[in-house]
């Protein structure tokens, strides 16, 4: 029942997104869309996914789009090209897909093909084989560790891509002006600054809690990384990018992101050298369960480091590019009259 209401709301928001011309409104609605889909994931028992989607879909992705909109302009061109062929194509594809769903098993049926293949083994045996209660974590970090390694490398590569596209060597003489912009912008936000100072230690502690609690409840490296990055982003937004860069400078964070991937790979290599398969944690220690615990612990740390640092890198570069653009514009405005 809950899922039907949530899905209907999702559909309404999506239709509203098509019709909006103001890109700012589109981004705000996509934030609502992220929150709604995360609530849907909770209603579907996917607590780990809801955790991630809440932090990523509703928080970070909205934030990044917002930063970009402030650089690229807010209003969309009203003319759409070829709306009718597009509509026709979409309707035909949609009808075919709906025809395809008629053969699908009904929602929630326990004998659907998905539930008959490997899932029973994960549910029944993971406690004996891995020894941690959260099945999602044991699948993610142990049974399908190689998969997760691939995903981590994708995230790392995306971070490198953003660096390659946006980063530049900072000219030292430009720094003062940027500090000036920051200063004038933030001197009035006293209340938020104080509240943020109170909240920041709590957020960082909570990220660590999520990191370590991932074996027993919803959480783990991905979520902890995103929450940690969100805390740093909050700091950078309110206290200025240059201040945040003093806390976490660019080479350091780049090093951390690479270290994460390296650590992940090394865990696999060590288990290979100890006589097992790649990512076979049973061989990390004399006792199989201890080995599994050690492997999952290390891998969650590797994931957390890489995710946090890549998201921080992405945000820093976006915000940095924006500040450089703004200071260039200011210079231009000062010269032109």
């Amino acid at each position: 029942m809950i899922d039907i209401v949530l899905l209907t709301l999702l559909l309404a928001v999506a239709i509203a997104i098509i019709r909006m011309k103001d890109l700012f409104a589109v981004v705000m609605l996509s934030g609502i869309y992220g929150l709604l889909s995360a609530s849907f994931f909770v209603a579907m028992d996917a607590v780990d996914v809801a955790f991630t989607e809440a932090a990523v879909g509703a928080g970070i992705s909205t934030l990044l789009m917002l930063v970009v909109i402030t650089m690229t302009g807010r209003s969309e061109n009203t003319t759409r090209h070829k709306p009718f062929p597009a509509l026709l194509l979409v309707v035909i594809t949609g009808c075919l897909l709906i025809y395809g769903t008629l053969d699908m098993p009904y929602f929630g049926s326990a004998d659907a093909p998905v539930h008959s293949h490997v899932a029973p083994r994960y549910i029944n045996d993971s406690m004996q084989e891995i020894g941690i209660p959260n099945i999602v974590t044991s699948i993610l970090a142990s049974y399908r560790a190689f998969d997760t390694f691939g995903e981590l490398v994708v995230i790392f590569t995306a971070g490198i891509g953003v660096l390659a596209l946006l980063s530049s060597v900072r000219r030292p003489d430009n720094g003062d002006k940027i500090v000036c912009i920051n200063y004038s912008m933030h001197e009035q936000h006293l209340v938020v600054r104080i509240v943020t100072k109170m909240l920041l230690p709590f957020i960082l502690l909570f990220a660590l809690y999520v990191q370590f609690h991932g074996d027993f409840g919803p959480g783990g490296g991905f979520q902890a990384g995103v929450i940690f990055a969100a805390a740093i982003i909050l700091y950078a937004m309110l206290f200025g990018l240059s201040t945040a860069r003093i806390v976490i400078n660019q080479p350091f964070i780049q090093l951390i992101s690479a270290t994460g991937v390296l650590l992940y790979g090394c865990v696999g290599l060590v288990s290979l050298l100890n006589g097992g398969n790649f990512f076979d944690y049973n061989f990390l220690s004399n006792d199989a369960i201890t080995g599994q615990h050690l492997g999952i612990f290390l891998i969650e740390w590797a994931v957390g480091c890489t995710v946090a640092s890549v998201i921080i890198i992405i945000f820093f570069n976006f915000a940095d590019y924006r500040e450089r653009q703004q200071s260039n514009e200011n210079e231009h405005n000062q010269e032109s009259p």
Partner: protein, 101 residues
């Protein structure tokens, strides 16, 4: 009572979405998103109790934090000229609100 409270939260969420869509100024939209976020925190807490496993309240904490961060982000990055409030930036016909301006 839990189910009734969940229903009430759903109604409040729907109203917030309507305000978020219809808008007129972009502050109304931020307000709607903010309210929607608070209601989502409550919904998640309630859902935990309705579904019988209330130990996953960590998610609600994350929601509260993320909601704060996104509102701060919106306000932090709305300092450029294109977000200055002028009647020309209005998207719908509620412009009568700003006649005095």
């Amino acid at each position: 009572m839990l189910v009734a409270a969940t229903l009430a939260i759903f109604i409040a969420m729907t109203l917030a979405i309507i305000r978020g869509i219809s808008g007129p100024t972009f502050y109304d939209r931020i307000l709607a998103v903010n309210m929607f976020g608070t209601k989502t925190v409550l919904l998640i807490s309630l859902l935990g109790f309705v579904m019988g496993r209330p130990e996953f309240l960590d998610i609600a904490i994350v929601y509260a934090l993320i909601n704060f961060i996104s509102v701060i982000a919106v306000l932090r990055y709305s300092d450029t000229n294109q977000f200055k409030h002028t009647p020309a930036t209005e998207t719908s016909n509620h412009q009568s609100t700003e006649k005095e301006h």
